[in-house]
Symmetry: D3
Subunit: 285 residues, 6 copies
């Protein structure tokens, strides 16, 4: 008789790698977090708590059971060495793309979206990014560092250039960042009202969707490093995800900035789980 070692996956994500359409993986990195660390624990909390969900979405009327998703676990991150961390992520993500996988990455702090977006851009030079967040993340540097969670979208602009970044829900930043956005990105402050219109425009181009969960009001998601009051409701986020169904070429996505230990009730982790389920079903065309 033989038996497998104890396996732990997100609910409904038990396909083999080779048979899978989508790869789910975590990046437990929070090395540049300036205020309150803890996003490294996100996936550790998400996997067991995902079993409080159903695999079926009554919003999208789809079921994870009918998808082929592989849960690849979490990348191992070097400690205190941001540059090496970025390289490790870039290399791993390139491998997924070479194997023709779509992927959903779960952070970690937002900086980890920089190498995953870069890897997607390498294959799709026409890449567009939908960025849902409370914060502009457009600083050129933060506390003297170019590689910072507060600069991640600016770093992506370095290679994407103007006209490719679409920001929604933004309610925090310096005056300079808001002015810079005026010239270089599309930015809807406070709300997600224009997601629908932008989706119309991006219908057929390759799209990467990055969701910083702190776009949600802290009442919905207290479990994050920098709670910013005045955010969107969960229904508003669900509506935006509903709009994404019209996008014909989503190449990858991420869900970042859950810090589960700040919300002992588990409600924040449940929010992350449901968002991951909806985004996996969105990727699974």
């Amino acid at each position: 008789m033989n038996k497998p070692l104890n396996v732990s996956t997100f609910i409904g994500c038990e396909s083999d790698y080779s048979n899978s359409e989508i790869v789910l993986f975590g990046i437990p990195f929070d090395g540049t977090t300036s205020f309150r660390p803890g996003t490294r624990f996100a996936m550790q909390a998400i996997r067991p708590d995902s079993y409080g969900l159903e695999t079926y979405s009554p919003y999208l009327k789809k079921d994870l059971e009918n998808c082929t998703i592989y849960d690849g676990g979490d990348l191992e991150m070097p400690l205190g060495n941001t540059q090496k961390a970025m390289e490790t992520i870039l290399e791993y993500t390139r491998g997924l793309i070479q194997d023709n996988k779509k992927f959903l990455m779960v952070g970690g702090e937002h900086l980890v979206s920089f190498p995953t977006i870069q890897a997607a851009y390498e294959k799709y030079p026409d890449l567009h990014v939908i960025h849902i967040d409370a914060h502009t993340d457009l600083r050129d540097e933060f506390l003297g560092e170019k590689l910072s969670h507060a600069a991640v979208i600016r770093r992506c602009h370095d290679f994407l250039g103007d006209g490719r970044i679409f920001q929604f829900g933004i309610r925090s930043g310096t005056e300079q960042e808001f002015e810079w956005a005026n010239e270089h990105t599309y930015l809807e402050p406070f709300y997600l009202n224009t997601v629908k219109d932008i989706v119309e425009k991006l219908r057929d181009v390759p799209v990467y969707i990055t969701i910083d969960l702190d776009v949600l009001d802290p009442s919905v998601l207290p479990g994050t490093g920098t709670p910013e009051p005045g955010g969107i409701t969960y229904r508003e986020l669900l509506n935006a995800i509903g709009s994404f169904q019209k996008l014909n070429n989503i190449v990858a996505a991420d869900v970042v900035e859950l810090s589960p230990q700040y919300d002992p009730s588990g409600a924040s982790t449940a929010v992350a789980c449901k968002t991951i389920r909806e985004m996996l079903l969105t990727l699974a065309k």
Copy 2:
């Protein structure tokens, strides 16, 4: 000189049993809870915290001080023996109905509504049930068990039959459950928008109202075993309770699934307390 032993009741519920119109009691049972137990502690948290409320409701413009409500404490539950627990509850509730009491039961997990609805049905064969919940609760069995919190409304359908169950706010279930509901119950997904219309129809029939507090968004009620994001606001629940004032024959009600220890802030317990107050005032015609 003599003095009573230390008494602990819900605020404004200090009537004698014999003089009371309404009986309030708790069922500290969470024996089939699959994910996170703890609803057994609900009443223990609710009673002292109810003193943070006023007895007067500015919504209903009524005061608990003007009602006659008896707080009968909590039933003692046999450990690990679900069948015996159901029998204990059924017997107790039958006694209340024989004594012509209306009652408000506070759970415990949702399964405890099965025997209390059954007892009400025994007296009122024409009973209709208003079911407010995040979950369908319509499984025929769950993990091999017929008596499960995930099957409670299905168990009630076993004796009530079609056309008697009205479900609101539902946002989680299997695809099969939603399909089954299409044929056997009235089900409004996600919202409480049609409560008003249904109340019109049920104006003069005997009605039992069961409120699973997890219908509320987890931002409002993180203190529950299975938080399901995307739920209703507390104002929406208050509006529904406002609609209930038109029902002429509410025979009993329950408020279930508070797990107070998951919300150390006490906000979830306050939500339960206020809901109990409003429902007591609703019962007190």
Copy 3:
């Protein structure tokens, strides 16, 4: 070489006292709190957590960096002696007003607004008070005490008289309090819908704004002594603060009743921080 002792201020509040237009200070007093104490810890949590905010407000399009605000620390409160506490506060606030400072006071329980409003009234006999709160606070006495958080607005009425107090968002009180309000104050229950209209009327008179944070729904601010479900959203509060920009003579304001330890996520403290930032920018005409 010499160096200053370790300084701790609210973000962006580093002006000298003499150069400052506005003084920020805390009153760590919760001596009459009947239910759950802890507002004494508010400022201790607020100062370090304020660094999770930006100094720039995209709502008001103003920046704390362009204001002159002095953080005067917290008053030292005598223990268990409410009368002496009130006198200490009154004396300190009078000093600020004599020095022609506007001030933003951070509580503490709501009773501490009594002496600060009194000091403002002494200088501006024509003072009007905008009161945003979940509770009426209009009791004549509470548990036998005239000086109580539940009586604070009534105590202010003692000297202000009729027609000077404007209450919004109120959703808890005794029937008597609501009736008393009918005759002596302006009171909008549940909502802030008429703030705009009242602001029009008060455009040119001296105004004191007192914000009891428990006006917010407990989902937004669980960190308070007496959470009262069914409150306003943070966006609704931001809108009201937006309306205040039309007031030409705000002489002082306060933000009270944060009890940070009841919300280990820090979201409630973030709400207080952001409200303080917006109110400081509102005071800084």
Copy 4:
């Protein structure tokens, strides 16, 4: 049919007042607490958690079931008025003594021992006090107040005089307090080693025992307002209580300074419960 209102007592304390040898009651007062309040919640946590204990003590080989103990609930305390609070306690305690009850009082902050010891002294002018604590509590005043938790033993010395107070386990105080103790009390610092010897001396005089739970190391009792590292183990406290069995005239006792909310594990509350059980069995000669 009639039924009692919901009763909540400490385990095994269900005697009528008139038949009881001992009265147990709580004083939810923390009005002079300078650092972290919360002892007002002690009894609210202790009663339900006492059911995690057995009524039988294998240390003393006695059982609460064989005693007659009445649980009188908690005194209602006036808010923010320390003087009136002291009077309320004194009056209640005098009543118990007039009825020839022994009592065990549960705090609350340590100041509440002042009126209970005073009441005992009024009947037994020869009263001796055994004081087990981390702190000297011998200040003449604290922050300008005579009635302070930090001055409670000094206040008792005001009427008891020299030679009557026996302090054990003390590991915190000002230099002045330790010097004052040298002249006016018996004080064993850090340990309880000499409890046995002192008990020998006090065998036949009337004794009041006041146990400030913070004498225990904070590892044992983190749930207290002012944790002071380096304290005694629980076994050491059990040994001291064992010694008390030789005292022939214990007239009353108290157990104070549990602040249950600082220890969400409930271990501190369990410590208080077990100490109360042992002390009740000690009183029940």
Copy 5:
């Protein structure tokens, strides 16, 4: 390319089943827990936190890296059906013993030791049990149920008979239980002082060791359902485990009653992890 699904094991337990000497597995069952449930979460917390440990023990001077241990994950438990749960465990454990595995089971509540001890007894009729616990667990029934955590050792006595059970550290039980133990088991109250002597006697017989972690003082292990103050230190437990090295025929062991959610610090989980490591190294002769 193919890759394994995400695997989660206790540190150093990555052997195949077929090559393994020892099997580690969890039983997430807390269905008869009368006071505070939560032991079902033990293994979920233990696996990730075990990576805070080293694989090497400086006490035993052995390393998990040099052992062959298979982590088989957790058994799936039927909800609310205690009888069926017992059967599931018994069947699984019989399978391990048939495959000639030693095993370390991690609870769950103590009742789960009943079927695992039974399975060991079936193979080794001469089985002796070392029982380390705060509680006697010798009730004949508890709240009307024979299958109860409070009766588990009594249930084992049903088939083991007199002279086979050795209890240490016991400090809670009814008077009847202590009397019953006098006649039927070896019981050292409060301490582990005689473990060494008993080990000498049991050197060559088959031994099962069951460790209820609540034998530890709640300061060491607050994360358990029924904390009982006055327990042993962790060094005392380590010494007892050191004594076990002289036993030549330990056939299996268990570590039960961690309830990790009651200790948010993770210290209790660390205690469980270290105890599991030491017991695994003890089994690995």
Copy 6:
């Protein structure tokens, strides 16, 4: 009139820099923490909670009020850049030593002791280090990084060489680390029994004392990243500090690895505060 900005210092540490004998400062760095971050928050919790202590030590019979100690606040750390962080610390500490200050540094993770010991070594080439810790910290590298909390003492050995490092209380490490220690350092496992003897030997040489608070049993200090059960009691640590009074040339010291957020009771922070007080009084010869 002018007033200082709000100042926040450790209790009794209000001297000017120029007049001070000792400098207290914090390093909020936890960038290489592999398991659970959070030591960056230590000083933020320590300063306000230090006011729960007295300035007088009954152990050392000395008072902070009689010392001249300057609280210099916390160093600002670059995010995610370990090398630059080390340089910032080294430079700051060199400045203190040039100004002839003794210092007490409060971490942060243990790696921050590397530059502070280096700075002391630059001035005192004959420096000896007393290292009190649960962990060996002697890895040559950890997860590929030379600069790691798990390698800090090894890094110090790089310049100090053999015979200079004295380790106490060690109970965790790899087999290789313990073997390496055998040849290069003095290491007492598990206990502090030989501190007294070593102090005799080091009486007149320059000594740096580094205390990793996780040497304490997790019952005493649950608030740390990697709790390691089986540690020393607080009394044992106090005894060791008592021994240090015989050292004639302590040049500096540090207290590291408090992670206050893992212990919501505040007991761990109280342990850090008291240790800092005792070490400050130890430095103040």
